[in-house]
Chain length 218, copies 2
DNA sequence: ACAATATTCCACGAATGATTGGAGGACGCT
DNA sequence: AGCGTCCTCCAATCATTCGTGGAATATTGT
């Protein structure tokens, strides 16, 4: 015990986790999986990957035991192996945000100008309880179905324009999506504001909501 | 904004962090750096790496901004870029521990049988305050110098046998080292117990002590 | 200036990882 | 049993990364 080979082996085990996450594509899959379980095909489409490629990446995550699978008929559902994996993903993003200046560039190129107002989780909870706000889940319906903020209304961004009439006009709106780096709520707030609605976004999203162990409705 | 290329670029930025950590050697360097700043040469020796190899790995970490450097004369000192990096490293280990069954095998092969008693941080703090325990830092003197538990006595494991007489015989001993996966305290407790001393180890080590924001003496 | 020390840079072969299309396997339906 | 669906596995190609020894660079002391 205590020898070099054993120490190397130990750190090589730790590295299995980081190696599994050492790819933008796989992080994107983890981001999607943090919203709930999905099939290979659905993940491949959402992450814009070939089916074989997506499957290979998912196998890599599986071999590191970061995800688990469940078969239902011919479909195979992947899900994160635990909350700690989501927490690790969140911490990776946070470290990247704090350390990499380039990230801010990439972030604003993706999310757009920082022109949308936001509310914190605490404020959202308070106002949702008092019923003075309409909470809008703008993620794809599939992700809403896998768990959402209690009382939130599902209006995927793609349908928002068509379904404007369903949204109460006399209340403030708070839109949310996957997490701190998800573009959906940003776009939704821009669209709603352009329509003259009083809309803001939750500062982060469902990932952070779950990690804060706040209530999740199914 | 919101397009595929921008999204890919964003996740590729996140991946810079995980890619930098995607190597057992680099994780070992981070483990050492979590104890305090060190020179390239010292790191290379401690991690059993060739100088060029160590330098290359350190450059990789530096390009991901996970470490920073400081020049002093001809020497260059590397250190972690922030506490969040140490926290990320700790979380990687914890996820690995929870997810990988193989890790337990590697862990016990390195640390030896689980035959040593331990105390928690809280218990150590309490007993150290009341002065009823000798706290032993068994890391290399270099790491002790970079910060240690207040009141701890530096006796590197390599010197322990020769310096037994310096350690009060009438008090319980608590040994600690780098962290949860460091072998030094385990070996020290075995050695002390064999000498008939009442010795236990701190359950983890300096890494976790710092992350808990407990006082650190220099 | 020159030598000594400490580190980075460079170039190379070896090893590992990513991507893709197509074959193969498991499952459900009729 | 036969067929369609969904996914994994395989093999081939291409791109990255790793480890290493030696040359190049920066700094200090003589």
């Amino acid at each position: 015990m205590g020898d070099r080979a054993a120490k190397t082996a130990l750190f090589e085990q730790f590295a299995r986790v980081t190696k599994a996450l050492a790819s933008g594509k796989r992080l994107e899959l983890v981001d999607l999986l943090a919203q709930g379980e999905r099939t290979v095909d659905s993940l491949a489409k959402a992450a814009n990957l070939g089916l074989s490629t997506a499957s290979a990446h998912l196998q890599t995550l599986k071999h590191a035991h970061l995800v688990t699978t469940r078969r239902e008929g011919t479909k195979i559902y992947y899900r994160l192996a635990g909350d700690d994996v989501a927490a690790l993903f969140a911490l990776v993003r946070s470290v990247a945000q704090d350390r990499l200046a380039d990230l801010e560039t990439a972030r604003s190129a993706y999310l757009g100008p920082d022109d949308t107002g936001y509310v914190t989780r605490e404020e959202l909870l308070r106002r949702a309880r008092s019923g003075t706000v309409t909470v809008l889940d703008v993620r794809p319906a599939e992700e809403y179905a896998a768990g959402h903020i209690p009382g939130a209304m599902s209006v995927p961004l793609a349908d928002l324009t068509d379904r404007l009439a369903e949204i109460p006009a006399d209340q403030d709106i708070v839109a949310y999506c996957r997490g701190a780096y998800c573009v959906l709520a940003h776009d939704a707030v821009r669209l709603l504001t352009a329509e003259g609605r009083a809309a803001r976004r939750l500062v982060d999203g469902m990932l952070e909501w779950r990690l804060a162990e706040l209530p999740v409705a199914i």
